[in-house]
């Protein structure tokens, strides 16, 4: 099992760091899955994560100048590592002026991702900073726990409002309540609601638009038959929503959510080079 990668382009490094920053806000520990073409950051929906789960996928070619990996076996040419994203973010944070960043999987005393940053310096030789990030290697028998979640059978799918606006609304609501209700319909209307003993606040968004999911085998319930005005709703942990929105520093190309009435909200955020899915289950 080997892994070695290198970034030299500062814009790529910056972009990659921002993605890691988003992941940091969503997960204390998560799984890094490496394949020949892609990297995945995965958080499975264990109870420990509060039931929320995440699937983030990016093509390595968009970020790395060199990328070599050898998986556990020829037929299973992948590597699954458990790590703390904050460590990686810290290592990259001070590398923003680097000449090169190399990442390598090593196993001296324990498995580590070694991030070696080559920094410019006034002297004849560069400054080198190495960060050894401890990782846990996930054995193959557990890989099934981390499969890509399937698209839920949603009731409503709708584009999100401008994330910055949504974020400031949710942040203020967070001061008043621990839970928030997201409801939306197929006419492009979405409401964010909180309700406590003392106060209830609702913010209305309209003309958001609904993504045109092509119905496959007619199994998408958002197809025919659903009343366009009828709202599907889910009451979720407001902190999880706020963390998701806080992690978005750049506006995604597409941002939408799928609501399964009273069950789960599935967020999809698409950028040019990375896609992020985040599932927040509804509170019973």
């Amino acid at each position: 099992m080997r892994f070695r990668a290198k970034i030299v382009d500062l814009a790529c490094l910056n972009h990659f760091s921002r993605i890691i920053n988003t992941i940091v806000k969503l997960a204390k520990t998560c799984i890094l899955r490496l394949t020949v073409c892609k990297l995945y950051f995965i958080l499975s929906d264990k109870v420990a994560n509060g039931g929320a789960s995440m699937w983030c996928e990016l093509s390595q070619g968009n970020f790395f100048d060199e990328f070599q990996m050898e998986g556990v076996a020829a037929e299973h040419n992948e590597i699954y590592l458990e790590f703390v994203p904050e460590n990686l973010w810290r290592a990259l944070k001070t590398a923003q002026s680097a000449k090169a960043v190399k990442i390598k999987l090593t196993n001296k005393h324990c498995p580590c991702l070694r991030v070696a940053v080559e920094l410019p310096s006034l002297s004849s030789s560069s400054r080198i900073v190495t960060h050894d990030i401890p990782v846990g290697v996930i054995p193959r028998r557990m890989w099934n726990d981390f499969r890509e979640p399937s698209m839920p059978d949603f009731d409503v799918s709708i584009y999100l409002p401008v994330l910055k606006t949504m974020k400031s609304v949710v942040e203020r609501m967070k001061n008043l309540s621990n839970f928030i209700v997201i409801e939306a319909n197929l006419s492009g209307e979405m409401n964010l609601k909180i309700e406590t003993d003392l106060v209830s606040v609702t913010t209305h968004f309209k003309d958001l638009g609904n993504p045109p999911w092509a119905s496959e085998d007619g199994c998408q319930s958002s197809g025919q038959g659903r009343d366009l005005e009828s709202m599907a709703e889910a009451c979720i942990d407001i902190k999880k929503l706020q963390q998701l929105l806080a992690g978005q520093q750049v506006n995604p190309t597409k941002a939408l959510c799928n609501i399964v009435h009273k069950r789960i909200v599935h967020f999809i955020l698409l950028h040019e080079e990375v896609s992020l899915q985040y599932f927040i289950p509804a509170i019973a």
Binding site: V84, N87, R90, A91, T94, A100, K102, K104, T106, K108, H109, C110, R114, A116, E118, S121, L122, S123, S124, S125, S126, R127, I128, V129, T130, H131, D132, I133, P134
Partner: protein
């Protein structure tokens, strides 16, 4: 100084005004000596045959409160007068501001013994001098909450900085960051090869930001693990010393300093074209050196048999509970030795501490 202790010691001397602080576990001490030329007027008072120049300590927060907002002070204050009134038991800070406004602050003080850590830069085997900016750029790679850092010397004159991982922390869970600096980035390097010391980052960061603001080079004097590390800044009108205890290292004391057991990873090769690879390959094959200094698990014990707690009557030994990791725990760090400097014939607190290491540092 406020990053080190809660009390500010003021000691006027013939060679200037000395401001000092010490932390509660006696593992950090700093002194700023402002020469008379720094001031428009400097009158240290007169020491008679029976009396010393008066000295006192005040609460750091009270003192800082007078100078709270630097930008507005710079705009409005013309001059500042500091006056010690021993008979009135007050330290007077008077700010003469624009428009004829005078703000007078009367701070209560306590008399105190001379606060002096025992250290001697001449006895340090190793010395590094670097512009403050270099060290600031080095320290930025470590998290703000990091308690202790290890400074080491590698082959080829390279200097390394590495976060110190406590024994109690699980090595398989803690991230380790290491930074290498080339010899020519320093203004001067005179170090014993294979040496290393571990000290607290918090107090050091405080001095570093002062040095950066004042644009002064910083000199680091150090010796064996366990002996204090001394940081100095020098200017025509200002002399600064910061003395920090370092982690004692029983295992390495039994090895001679030149053996490899104490040194860090092999220093990276000089040409950096593509040979981060070979550097990293070299890292992979070097054995056992990468975990940093061997972590001692011994109770705190100092080789000199003297008591390490000063018997200064005015000091309260308060443990800092829940403080930001800047004060190393008692059990790991040696306390600095504090001499109780008593003038003969003066009735004073009943201190009988024997001073083993005289203060032979150039400071008056």
């Amino acid at each position: 100084l406020s990053r080190i202790g809660d009390e500010l010691y003021l000691e006027p001397t013939e060679s200037g005004l000395s401001l000092r602080a010490v932390n509660s576990s006696r593992s950090a001490f700093a002194a700023f000596l402002f020469a008379p030329l720094f001031f428009q007027l400097y009158e240290p008072g007169s020491a008679g045959p029976d009396t010393e120049l008066f000295r006192c300590k005040v609460h750091m927060k009270s003192f800082l409160g007078v100078f709270r907002s630097l930008p507005s002070l710079e705009k409005s204050v013309g001059k500042c007068l500091i006056l010690l009134k021993p008979r009135a038991s007050r330290l007077v800070l008077q700010l003469h501001c624009k428009h004829g406004v005078t703000k007078t602050h009367n701070l209560a003080f306590q008399e105190c013994e001379r606060l002096q850590a025992v250290f001697d830069t001449q006895r340090c085997a190793s010395r590094l001098c670097a512009p403050a900016r270099l060290l600031a750029e080095a320290v930025v790679h470590f998290p703000p909450t990091l308690a202790e850092v290890t400074l080491g010397t590698g082959t080829g004159g390279r200097i390394s900085l590495r976060n110190y991982v406590e024994d109690e922390a699980e090595p398989s869970k803690t991230m380790v960051t290491e930074l290498w600096l080339a010899e020519d980035e320093f203004q001067s390097v005179a170090v014993a090869p294979g040496s290393h010391i571990t000290f607290c980052l918090k107090e050091f960061r405080g001095l570093l930001s002062f040095a950066e603001a004042a644009n002064l080079p910083l000199t680091i004097h150090f010796d064996e693990p366990g002996r204090p590390v001394i940081f100095t800044l020098d200017d025509t009108v200002l002399e600064v010393h910061l003395v920090l205890a370092t982690l004692s290292d029983l295992d390495s004391s039994s090895q001679c300093p030149s053996t490899n057991g104490v040194s860090h990873l092999p220093a990276p090769p000089d040409d950096f074209g593509d040979d981060l690879e070979s550097y990293m390959a070299a890292m992979e094959t070097s054995e056992g050196c990468s975990e940093g200094p061997p972590s001692p698990t011994f109770p705190l014990r100092t080789p000199q048999p003297a008591k390490s707690k000063p018997q200064q009557q005015q000091q309260e030994e308060e443990e800092e509970e829940g403080a930001v990791p800047g004060t190393p725990p008692h059990k790991k760090f040696r306390s600095l030795f504090f001499g109780s400097v008593m003038t003969p014939g003066r009735p004073g607190p009943a201190t009988t501490q024997e001073v083993l290491a005289e203060d032979s540092d150039g400071e008056s």
